[in-house]
């Protein structure tokens, strides 16, 4: 969904709420948007509008979910600094394409001098490393995409 469509939906939701409608459907070419609610109380979809400051709170909410059902996203359980290796002069714990086993350390997230080792919860293959080494990560931020072994 691109930002234009998101804006359209936001607008339609506002119209729906304000005019007390139950359904709006708009079709233009091959894009069709339909919004429906049962009763006034149940509307939601407040998408974050204004932020011009780049990477918004939702930026990574979408990103890991390309065709989600199969892949597993490893997210950060804490706020801190992301390290791909235990110290600058050694190799990364994992690279894209590596096979990992359940319990294997994928990275470290350092928070207040505390080194939190993040382990894989499954056996699988690292499809993507989502964060640059030494970048700050927030709670729930996707760190790795893993393709679990069947």
């Amino acid at each position: 969904m691109n930002s234009e469509q998101r804006k359209d939906i936001q607008e339609l939701v506002e119209i729906l709420a304000k005019q007390n409608l139950n359904e709006i459907e708009v079709q233009r070419g091959d894009v069709r948007i339909r919004i429906r609610r049962e009763s006034a109380a149940t509307v939601s979809v407040p998408s974050p509008s204004s932020t011009e400051s780049g990477q918004g709170p939702d930026a990574f909410a979408d990103s890991g979910e390309k065709d989600s059902s199969r892949f597993l996203t490893v997210t950060s359980p804490v706020v801190g600094t992301f390290y791909r290796s235990s110290s600058p002069d050694v190799e990364s714990y994992v690279e894209e394409g590596d096979l990992v086993s359940r319990g294997q350390v994928l990275c470290i997230v350092e928070a207040m001098k505390l080194m939190n080792e993040i382990e894989s919860e499954v056996d699988g293959r690292v499809v993507k490393v989502m964060v640059e080494n030494e970048a700050g990560v927030e709670y729930g931020q996707p760190l790795f995409v893993i393709d679990p072994l069947p």
Partner: protein, 449 residues
Amino acid sequence: MFKKILIANRGEIALRIIRACRELGIKTVAVFSEVDARSLFVRHADEYVCIGPADSALSYLNIPNVLSAAEITGADAIHPGYGFLAENAHFAEVCESIGITFIGPTSEHLALLGDKSKARETMLRHGIPVMPGSEGELRNLDHAVQVAGELGYPVMVKASAGGGGRGLRVVSREAELGKAILSAQVEARTGFDHDGVYLEKYFPEPRHVEIQVLADEHGHAVHLGERDCSIQRRYQKLVEESPSPVVDDSLRREMGNVALKVVKAVQYRNAGTVEFLLDQNRKFYVMEVNTRIQVEHPVTEMVTGIDLIKEQIRVAAGMPLRFRQKDIQLHGHSIECRINAECPETFVPSPGVVSRFHVPGGAGIRVDTALEAMDQVHPHYDSMIAKVIAHGQDRADALARAQRALDEFTVEGIKTTIPLQRLILRDPDFQKGGVSTNFLDRLLAGRML
């Protein structure tokens, strides 16, 4: 001055602080829980870091995550707002130890003034009038009889571990004292698993009047007049005003001087509030000292013209206060009405999606809120969603403006206390100004919304 301030809070106070920072040219970092990702306070910050799930114990109270967020964004100070970590001495201490300025008093102040009995001892030592009562818990009935005799009847038996009116007995004669203590102990043991009780003088019609103070690290301190917060329901303030309708210039000077004496006694710094009980004979007693900015701070801002959040930030950055006591003047009158997402009759919280949200505006009206139409009010947090602050030439003018603003305020999709606020503002006793903290209970007992 600070380059970047992290705001360790949410909702209207987070937005309030972000606005002050913008006006001072300081960058801001918002921290937020997963359900707050789309809130106005997050969108108005320069940077934002998710620090946990909805449960505040795991997010807004999660000290490691808050401090890590400051670290990864390079914030050099943290403003805690009110609630959450604002009065947490441990949090302030960790901030100090890692070189991040906690915008507030020192961790020692928080520890000392957060401990009611230590704070009381300190104030007694400095000749500050505290609530008359027993020193510590009652040892036995003889002790109780002696203390009660000194205080003069009626007295109150209070459970040390009590709260919200439980474990509390009013005693008007010595003969009733023993029985009251026993029954309070039983209730306290059942409810709180600790049956220690103490005595306090009973005031039948008390007012809650508090003095705002500001102090810097250079030994300067001023008070900014009083706020009258007598409109309460179960110790929760609903309407606040400044000046108080019952405080005149000389009483204000007296109470202000006592508040400054407290500041001096503990070498307090930053913003603080000395809360008093004011009785019907214009005698006053310190109840406690609040070591943070308060929800009701805007009424003081409206009558003094001083931005308390900006002053907190300046003082925390080591700057000296830019004014002295003689520069502080009160202009006009200001009233704040807290709007909660609650049923105005049962006070049951009313979370949900706000389908329509139209805030009042125009002359003399300020609204502090971080809500907008289509936002969701979450059940996880405090139910206060907005503050309507009116300012006028005098009390009648401020009241008329507040009433007009409440009438304009449109909130749909959730229930709010707006109808109750309207009822309070239209009450003849409230309009006369002479009400005590019992007012709201009486009004609620007899009301028809």
